[in-house]
């Protein structure tokens, strides 16, 4: 068992005081941003990218991965107690979780979410440790053409699966791909889209784009709709997790893990789809169908396990192929590139200490998160009392400082503002941001591989379909592009999570704080 020995070595490294401290910092930050709606792990990691200039790689990745996992935990707390999902991956949790809290079973809902997240996170991280070396063996002979095919699949899947419509996703992807093109072409030395501005010949720094799209865009968006009625916090009351709850939760936890890990590992855009599927599955399989819609514990346990398992699944393609499948993973990839490390099949052999320490600290961080979230859910809710003007002023300050620190160039601040306005417009008109970020980051990598493949074949496009691997992957990409359109034509529109919760509308960010008068008549 080579993987086990490597993992134990990783534990030895991860249990040093400094690494433990960074893991703690990461999970604390992650839970905090998970609790706050609109501020997610992707934005936080983007804001923290500048620390990679001074921090040791191991410490930085332990912290980033802690933020990623922590965000998955934190989102459930607000979903259950406030019916306001902190993250998109917690939307399904709100359906049953908030009903449970209303019925005086808030404590049990929080417990099943936290323990389910822990169980799923642990199993999925162990699976990651087992699967990663195998995947590396499979893909070690991958050609540039194959890699290009994979990137195309990731683009198409992320663009068509996330967000309200495939068209908006593809448009958002285009924006990202375009921003990734700005700068000097590596092969020919020609300048592209630099508008004659010398600073742009190095390209737009990814930190500036990511921070602009996530942080500045979100801050402007929140500012544009600042006055919102406060939301009622439900008490985490009722009997704590009982034996009966445990019996009813174990199945959904395991099924959620089984759905979350593989779907997270596929390039389909992270944790939303698995939570959706897990909820649907639990609804079908439950022995208490009458409770669904009125606070069924299975509907909390399944999706919460699925989103944590998916977070671990996302790390499989990231670490073994360098292929990001969610916005947060894309930004972690930038951090790798910042250290001059290119994640890919060779990562596990060249940086094996880093990878195994990372995986070990994920397991430790998971335990920390359980301890932090189980008894302290109420404390985290207190964060939501921070007035938004203070919160977002702080974020803007951090965003500007971080961007200026990259090159100490005032032009970056201007770019930050322009891209921030773009991010605002995208939110305003319902364009998902994640495809843009993935396009921006994966675009140049895909381009390099495409041109390398074409250089080898001296310009013959046929090389792209040479291997069975690339044919299958490109076929899947085509399917991902066409299938949503066909399904829409055949079956009508897919029900959104909001529509699933018939009757009482889900209070997502868009509708938070409808005029207080409307909520009174209950």
């Amino acid at each position: 068992m080579g993987a086990l020995a490597d993992l134990l070595g990783g534990f030895a490294e991860a249990l040093t005081p400094v690494n433990l401290l960074f893991a703690l910092l990461g999970v604390l930050l992650g839970t905090a941003v998970g609790v706050l709606p609109g501020i997610g792990p992707a934005m936080t990691v983007a804001l923290l990218l500048p620390v990679t200039y001074t921090l040791e790689p191991t410490a930085a990745f332990i912290m980033f991965a802690g933020i990623y996992y922590g965000g998955m935990y934190g989102g459930s707390t607000t979903s259950i107690l406030l019916n306001t999902p902190g993250e998109s991956s917690s939307i399904m949790t709100a359906l049953e979780g908030n009903k449970m809290a209303k019925a005086g079973r808030g404590a049990a809902a929080l417990a099943t979410a936290a323990i389910g997240s822990f169980v799923a996170g642990t199993i999925a991280t162990l699976l990651l440790a087992l699967v990663a070396p195998t995947v590396v063996d499979l893909v070690v002979g991958i050609t540039p053409a194959d890699y290009f095919a994979l990137a195309v699949l990731a683009f198409v899947a992320v663009a068509t699966v996330l967000g309200s419509s495939p068209l908006r996703g593809l448009a958002s992807l285009g924006v990202g791909l375009y921003l990734g093109l700005v700068g000097t072409d590596v092969l020919t030395g020609q300048e592209r889209f630099t508008l004659g501005i010398p600073q742009l010949s190095d390209g737009i720094d990814v930190v500036v784009v990511a921070v602009g799209l996530f942080a500045v865009g979100e801050a402007l968006y929140v500012a544009s709709r600042l006055r919102r009625g406060p939301v009622q916090v439900l008490a985490a009351s009722g009997p704590w997790f009982t034996r009966r709850d445990l019996r009813r939760s174990v199945g959904p936890w395991l099924r959620g893990t089984a759905l979350g890990f593989p779907l997270g590992a596929l390039p389909a855009g992270g944790a939303e789809i698995p939570t959706f599927l897990s909820y649907a599955a639990e609804r079908k399989l439950t022995k208490h169908p009458e409770e669904f819609g009125r606070g069924a514990i299975e509907g909390v346990a399944g999706p919460e396990a699925a989103n944590n398992a998916a977070a671990a699944g996302v790390l499989v393609p990231l670490l073994t192929l360098g292929l990001p499948t969610s916005a947060t993973a894309a930004i972690i990839l930038v951090a790798f590139q910042g250290y001059g490390i290119q994640p890919g099949p060779t990562l596990l052999s060249t940086e094996s200490t880093l990878v195994w320490t990372l995986i070990a600290s994920l397991l430790i961080g998971n335990l920390m998160l359980l301890v932090l979230n189980l008894p302290l859910a109420r404390v985290w809710v207190q964060l939501l009392r921070v007035p938004r003007p203070y919160l977002y002023a702080g974020i803007l300050l951090f965003a500007s400082l971080g961007c200026y620190a990259v090159n100490a160039d005032p032009l970056d601040l201007l770019l930050l503002l322009v891209i921030g306005l773009l991010g605002f417009a995208m939110r305003r008109y319902g364009w998902p941001v994640a495809p843009a970020v993935i396009g921006l980051i994966l675009g140049p990598v895909a381009e390099t591989n495409l041109r390398r493949a074409l250089a080898i074949s001296s310009g013959d496009l046929g090389v792209l379909f040479d291997t069975w691997f690339s044919r299958v992957v490109l076929g899947l990409a085509l399917l991902a592009l066409v299938l949503p359109v066909v399904l829409r034509a055949v079956r009508g529109r897919r029900a959104t999570p909001e529509e699933l919760q018939a009757g009482e509308p889900l209070r997502h960010r868009e509708t938070v704080g409808a005029p207080p008068g409307e909520e009174d008549e209950r």
Partner: protein
């Protein structure tokens, strides 16, 4: 000839808000006045525990009904409490405003503005300020 007098109370679910409410009810009884209870939030944080919703709101309504005073409950969102109270007072032509005072520490006074001070300076009617029972605010 005379219209019914009006007493406005600025209420928050804290000891000082409770004290203000009790004095407001007493004053309304004494004057035979109508009671206008204002519970406002600036609405800039997702959670504001001083804004009444759900069960506490229903309890307040029940309590006011039991007290026998004709009352009206206003729950505006979006502006500063001083502006809301000033508006409520001028709109109803109130005879008296009752507010609760927070006990403040030296550091608190240095760092934070005072809602009570803003209310005292902006509202155009006599103001009764009451304190909550001694102890933590």
């Amino acid at each position: 000839m005379s219209r019914q007098p009006v007493v406005v109370v600025g209420h928050v679910p804290t000891p000082r808000g409770r004290a203000a409410l009790e004095h407001g009810v007493a004053e309304a009884h004494r004057r035979g006045a109508r009671l206008v209870v204002v519970n406002s939030s600036r609405g800039d944080a997702l959670v504001d525990e001083e804004y009444l919703q759900g069960d506490p709101l229903r309890r307040l309504e029940d309590e006011l009904t039991v007290s026998g005073v004709p009352f009206e409950l206003r729950r505006p969102v979006g502006r500063d409490v001083a502006e809301e109270l000033a508006d409520a007072v001028s709109e109803t032509g109130a005879d008296l405003l009752v507010i609760g005072l927070r006990r403040r520490s030296a550091v608190g006074k240095l760092l934070m503005g005072s809602a009570a001070q803003r209310i005292l300076l902006t509202v155009e009617c006599p103001i009764l300020t009451v304190k909550g029972p001694p102890g933590p605010p």
